[in-house]
Amino acid sequence: MSPEATVSVSPMLEMRGISKRYGRVQANDAVDLEVSEGQVLGLLGENGSGKSTLMKVLFGMVKPDRGTIQFKGELLARHSPREAISTGIGMIHQHFMLVEAMTVLENIMLGWSRAGAWLRREQIGELIRQTSLSYGLELDPAALVGELPFGQRQRVEIIKALVRGAELLILDEPTSNLSPPEISSLLTVMRRIADQGRAIIFITHKLGEVFDVCDEVVVLRDGRVVGKSLIANATRSGLAHLMVGRDVSTELNRVDRRPGAEVLVMRGVGMRDSSGRERLHDIDLSLREGEIVALAGVDGNGQTDLVDVLAGLKYPTRGTITVSGRDLTRATITDRLANGVAYIPVDRATTSLVPGMTIEENLGLRDFDQPPFRRGFWLNHRAFRKQAEARISEFRIAASGPDAPVQTLSGGNQQKVVIAREIGRNPKVLIAFQATWGLDPGATRFVVDQIMALRSHGGAVLYISSELDEVLMLGDRIGVIADGCLLGLAPRNQVDITKIGLMMAGHRELSGLT
């Protein structure tokens, strides 16, 4: 689209001077935002930059303190989400609002007056079929949502919004859980939706996708618009700088080092769950000192089972796991800790941390039964405090003090507590599962740097993530987990990204080619 065309059309959406304050936090500070027909607008920002608040204001979930919204020439004020939908705004939440036990058709008819008080199944089914054809979103209206893969469920949400007449679609981090082929097909669909005269606001913090699909990009930081640019005039490093507010060197300084002795060895590890399904298929893996093995994969392909088996939360049904030659296949968790295994779980709020307990207590959770944290029968609070103070400064945890409950910290600082506890023990083996999940680029970088530091101290790291970029950045050797199998493990200089993408999408036959 030429610049003249953008100017001549009055924008579909105009948000002016939106301000919203939560207590002491100014979530939005006089934010202006414009979107025109046929445009994909990227809304870029770290967590807590005010993207979600701004979109909640637009969708009527949050009332702004100040500011006006004009949509299609009409003023939107004190509107509910329902009114937002009926004026033509559709929102695809990060967590889908779908009923798994119902069909695609039923989910789309749910709460929609056009479906009729007496449901018009055939007509709506036909409408879905047509809509899905015209946007290239193949979808079977009769399929049960619970049996659809993640990418297909997202299509249900998109079609749900489209058939209800959404002219402006808000997509909240829609690519987080998709495999690379699914991402590229989503981006194509987004482009097609915009080309048909609708508009899209694309919330993300992944720069690559912004360049792939957006016409224009707006960067938010600390609740303010800090940058706005046509995509043609933007640069990757410029946007990254705007978003984080300081220079983030995107390149890691990776020191080549020769890996040492084998530490963690898995031989033919398989696991069958209680319903008899094979969750892991004969996994062979050896991890050496000072080496990072990074595994990519779409969520739900056996990653959870693999880390559970290594961390001792579940036992494998076949195969052996040894650490420095000691068989830990069926060892207790305490045994594993004593043998230098550390584990960063995916979910901070449940497995990693006790949210209601203080930082010093959470930091002491691994070794509280050992001196100096134990003095005879009693806990030694002074030792807890001393360790906490050291870790807080070493890992730059932003908190009011060691006695602050962990739940009062931001997600990034909570993860720092986890990292400080696990890496602070100087483990021989670190199992990191989605260690940067939900973190913004600044905090992600911190986690990545700590893991690299552990590597240079000779630690062995198994890094499992659905973020392909991170896997490619960190791994000395890189592989894919798909359907419970470990595929295509290869040194980083021999990795073929296309092949990795296809393996993530479940093309197992390719593994034979590497």
Binding site: I85, L98, V99, E100, A101, M102, G111, W112, A115, L119
Partner: protein, 307 residues
């Protein structure tokens, strides 16, 4: 067993299944919306009591049926307010209502009539022979020679089924029981929908109670529902929350009960109490077999929290 005995047995199965079916249909509505219907035993007893007392005073069966529904709804309202507004545990709340209903009906029965239990001999809802159809061989005497409420109960299966499967309101109700957030995101009000579903359940259960006091027995006695509400809950699970299958579940339990009654007359060297246990044992056995496969509404028993 001869022809006449079999006819009588099947006919009795249907009669015994009638109150269960009404209660179970109410339970299906409540549980589809995500609220465990544990309180139906109490709502049923309340309905039996309200209906009986009203008929005793007014001698009008229609007013009595209405009163039984209102009694059920009032008890259901307690469940609705507690579980929806105060997010109490559904099991505990349901059991509390059951105990409340048991105590309160016994108390009121005496309290309303000057401290003594009145002798109640009430007019009952009579049998209606459907012309032509009742003369059919086998099916005639079994299906078309039944009391009025029995026809009503089995007829109601159809509208309840159509409501749940074919209407937008039914779709919304199912969504509220599966994933209330999804229903909320498209503009439904899960709290209100759940409360209404529980009260509709109360009306059905009350009517089921009235079948006992006004159709079967023509009187009210303390605790007369005697666990039938729980049998209805078993039928819901056997029928996996769909009206037609739930109807078959009720008929299965009805048949077992009818058989047990019949066997008592055979003079077997066995305590009649043991024989009376059989329908419950059968329900238990069927549940053990089916219960594990049954998939209940995903958000049943879980309070809806607006984020």
């Amino acid at each position: 067993m001869n022809y006449a005995v079999i006819i009588e047995l099947l006919s009795a199965s249907i009669r015994i299944a009638t109150p269960l079916l009404l209660v179970a249909l109410g339970g299906v509505i409540s549980e589809t919306g995500g609220t465990f219907a544990v309180g139906v035993e109490g709502m049923m007893l309340g309905g039996a009591f309200g209906g009986a007392v009203t008929v005793l005073v007014t001698q009008n069966i229609l007013v009595g049926l209405l009163a039984s529904m209102i009694s059920g709804v009032l008890l259901a309202a307690i469940v609705a307010v507690a579980t929806v507004r105060f997010r109490t545990d559904h099991m505990v709340t349901g059991l509390a209502v059951n105990i409340l209903a048991l105590g309160m009906t016994s108390f009121l029965l005496r309290g309303l009539f000057g401290g003594k239990t009145p002798v109640m001999v009430l007019p009952t809802i009579g049998t209606v022979r459907i012309p032509w159809l009742c003369n059919l061989p086998v099916a005639g005497p079994i299906l078309f020679n039944e009391p009025l409420m029995t026809y009503l109960a089995f007829f109601l299966v159809i509208p309840v089924h159509l409501f749940l499967r074919r209407t937008r309101a039914g779709l919304t109700l199912r969504a509220v029981g599966e994933n209330p957030s999804a229903a909320f995101s498209v503009g439904a009000n899960p709290e209100r929908i759940r409360a209404v579903a529980v009260m509709v359940c109360g009306a059905f259960a009350g009517l089921g109670g009235a079948v006992l006091s006004l159709q079967e027995l023509g009187t009210f006695t303390d605790g007369m529902t005697n666990g039938r509400g729980f049998l209805a809950l078993a039928a819901i699970i056997v029928g996996r929350w769909t009206p037609f299958r739930v109807m078959w579940g009720c008929l299965l339990i009805g048949a077992a009960s009818a058989l047990a009654l019949n066997i008592q007359g055979w003079g077997l060297p066995m305590s009649s109490y043991v024989i009376q246990m059989t329908p419950y044992l059968i329900a238990l056995a069927v549940l053990c077999g089916i219960g594990r496969k049954a998939r209940m509404p995903a958000a049943i028993g879980k309070a809806f929290l607006r984020s």
